[in-house]
């Protein structure tokens, strides 16, 4: 009898926890969308803030976020994919391999506020980039490096040794094998890494506050790289915390929430697609 009660109790709290998490997530999403979507207007999306007219627009923030994503991926992809190739194809010394893997684990554990501070000291001050999108992007590169390395490495590991051996047997050099056999078969890992990184860049705020700044000026890609600019998250923080503009903050939160949903959907679909393709 006691055993039965205990079993029922355990089953009940397990189900309760799951329902709680599901309900919590659902209400978070619903709350943000309901409060935010009515505040999204074409004017908000397509203008920049104007003190004269007293209007708020988030177009510069949207552009800055897009620029940050592009610049970060452009830099982090070669670095991360290269590191992963080195780890799986070249590294012979166990110690060096362990050191690189340890470094990746350490990087993924460092909180974003520390990245922000280190980025400010290193990129803004030491390399004299000032508070600029480029400094922000470089900080994000370091943050996302472990993600790209891990996903690429995982998919490189699934490339069968026989493919490599076959290419070697035909007389191809190592570089050629990597270029024509190994890298093309690891596209899935690279794409997954990109999606995860985009999600992380969109949601990042603490690391950008001190490296990319809070300005709302509208620029082209190359001018923007050199000047300070707020991403969507940073400007949402400023609107909510410092200016009390909760309507705008909720509008941005809703946009971020929709983007998060899209990115999660993409990650699931891409994962499923490649899994199916690999089975064939």
């Amino acid at each position: 009898m006691r055993r039965k009660i205990k079993n029922t109790f355990l089953a009940a709290i397990t189900h309760f926890a799951a329902v709680l998490v599901a309900a919590l997530s659902f209400s978070l999403v619903a709350y943000v969308l309901i409060k935010g979507i009515p505040n999204i207007s074409w004017e908000l999306l397509s203008t920049k803030p104007s003190y004269l007219k007293g209007t708020i627009g988030i177009l510069p923030d949207i552009l800055n976020t897009v620029y940050l994503v592009i610049a970060t991926l452009l830099i982090v992809l070669p670095l991360g994919v290269g590191s992963a190739v080195y780890l799986t194809e070249y590294a012979k010394s166990r110690r060096l391999k362990a050191a690189i893997e340890f470094a990746c684990e350490t990087l993924s554990g460092i909180p974003s506020i520390i990245y922000g501070l280190a980025g400010m000291l290193i990129f803004c001050q030491f390399f004299k980039l000032g508070t600029s999108l480029l400094a922000g992007a470089l900080t994000l590169v370091v943050m996302n490096l472990p993600t790209i390395i891990r996903t690429t490495q995982e998919s490189l590991k699934t490339v069968p040794i026989s493919y490599r051996d076959g290419a070697f047997a035909l007389g191809a050099g190592k570089w050629r094998v990597i270029r024509t056999v190994v890298l093309p078969s690891s596209v899935d890992g690279i794409i997954t890494g990109c999606i995860l990184s985009v999600g992380r860049i969109l949601g990042e705020s603490a690391a950008l506050l001190f490296t990319a700044g809070v300005a709302h000026s509208m620029n082209g890609f190359f001018d923007a790289m050199k000047s300070s600019g707020a991403s969507l998250t940073v400007s949402m923080y400023v609107y909510a915390k410092e200016r009390g503009e909760f309507e705008t903050a909720f509008a941005i939160a809703a946009i971020l929430m929709i983007l998060t949903l899209i990115i999660n959907l993409c990650a699931t679909l891409v994962g499923r697609y490649f899994e199916r393709r690999r089975k064939i």
């Binding site: 079993n7 355990l10 089953a11 709290i13 397990t14 189900h15 926890a17 799951a18 998490v21 599901a22 919590l24 978070l28 999403v29 709350y31 943000v32 070669p78 670095l79 290269g82 590191s83 190739v85 080195y86 194809e89 070249y90 690189i100 340890f102 470094a103 350490t106 990087l107 554990g109 460092i110 909180p111 974003s112 506020i113 520390i114 922000g116 501070l117 280190a118 000291l121 290193i122 490096l145 472990p146 050099g173 190592k174 570089w175 990597i178 999600g199 949601g203 705020s205 603490a206 001190f210 998250t233 923080y237 915390k241 909760f246 939160a253 971020l256 929430m257 998060t260 949903l261 999660n264």
Partner: protein, 295 residues
């Protein structure tokens, strides 16, 4: 013919070198970050005195005779993280058992994407919801003048650590060999007994790792906490406005100068050392989990 062969070899060597350099970027980044944090954090600790800095109870960086004691921040971070773990870990752990073992496959994939979504929500969005829902709710329920408090931060953090706890625990629980569970079921244990008495103990390293990961997330979170904790440098108390290590750095950075600025870097160094300690524990746990799998 000979020429092309040696060209080929040169190319291979160059490519190898390029990949080696790329491979070392992660190591170099860690070294540079560590060195920079030490260089910029140590001088102020020297000037203030390590005892006064770590155990001083007052932080008045902007007054005429500034005092730089960060004990309130350290304790707030520790209490805040502990509170988040006390609330978040049981829920996360049980939810992980549900996802990994109890749920039918359809619900399982839905729950996994729900957890993925929770992990993907930006921390400023959590902060905004905390600011407009949790803070006013605390104000009303406990009848205090301002709801921005340690309690609000704990509630927000306990939701934010859920995805890390759940994901890692689920992975650990799914890695438990099916034979263990089959044996337990064959001996007459019920399903739920098997999950809690066989699967969970077998996955204990992984579950412990998930908790440590949650601790790391909670102690390192800045923006969400900044929006709900009120940000006054009080000694921690549940219903008072408090400042965490992370928010201490973030809140004064933009207008600080001189010794005040250096002291902020010292706070960042203390935070960094906390994180390094947590990472070391995490690594040890992960390694133990890995060894258990091999046996």
């Amino acid at each position: 013919m000979k020429g092309t062969k040696s060209n080929q070899r040169m190319l291979e060597k160059a490519v190898h070198l390029v990949f080696l350099i790329l491979g070392l970027t992660a190591v170099a980044s860690v070294l540079v970050i560590t060195v920079y944090l030490f260089i910029s954090g140590v001088p102020a600790i020297g000037k203030i005195g390590i005892i006064d800095f770590l155990f001083g109870k007052t932080w008045t960086s902007t007054s005429a005779e500034p005092q730089y004691g960060i004990l309130p921040f350290i304790l707030t971070s520790v209490y805040g993280t502990a509170g988040a773990v006390i609330i978040g870990v049981p829920v996360g752990f049980l939810c992980a058992v549900y996802i990994a073992k109890v749920a039918p496959s359809g619900i399982k994939s839905v729950m996994s994407s729900v957890v993925g979504l929770l992990a993907g929500i930006p921390s400023v969005v959590y902060g905004l919801i905390g600011m407009l829902v949790i803070v006013p709710a605390i104000m009303k329920v406990f009848n205090i003048p301002d709801g921005a408090s340690l309690l609000a931060a704990i509630l927000v953090l306990s939701v934010m650590i859920l995805p890390s706890v759940i994901k890692v625990s689920v992975t650990a629980l799914e890695a438990v060999p099916k034979e263990y569970e089959d044996a337990s079921l064959a001996l007459g244990a019920t399903k739920i007994e098997t999950y809690f008495k066989v699967s969970v103990p077998a996955a204990k390293s992984g579950i412990a790792a998930s908790i440590v990961l949650g601790v790391g997330r909670a102690i390192g979170e800045a923006m969400a906490v900044m929006m709900v904790a009120g940000n006054v440098a009080n000694m921690p108390s549940l219903f008072q406005s408090v400042r965490f290590l992370t928010t201490a750095v973030a809140s004064e950075m933009s207008y600080s100068s001189g010794l005040q600025r250096e002291a902020l870097f010292s706070i960042a160094l203390v935070l960094f050392l906390f994180i390094m300690l947590i990472n070391a524990i995490l690594n040890a746990l992960m390694k133990r989990g890995g060894n258990e799998d091999e046996k």
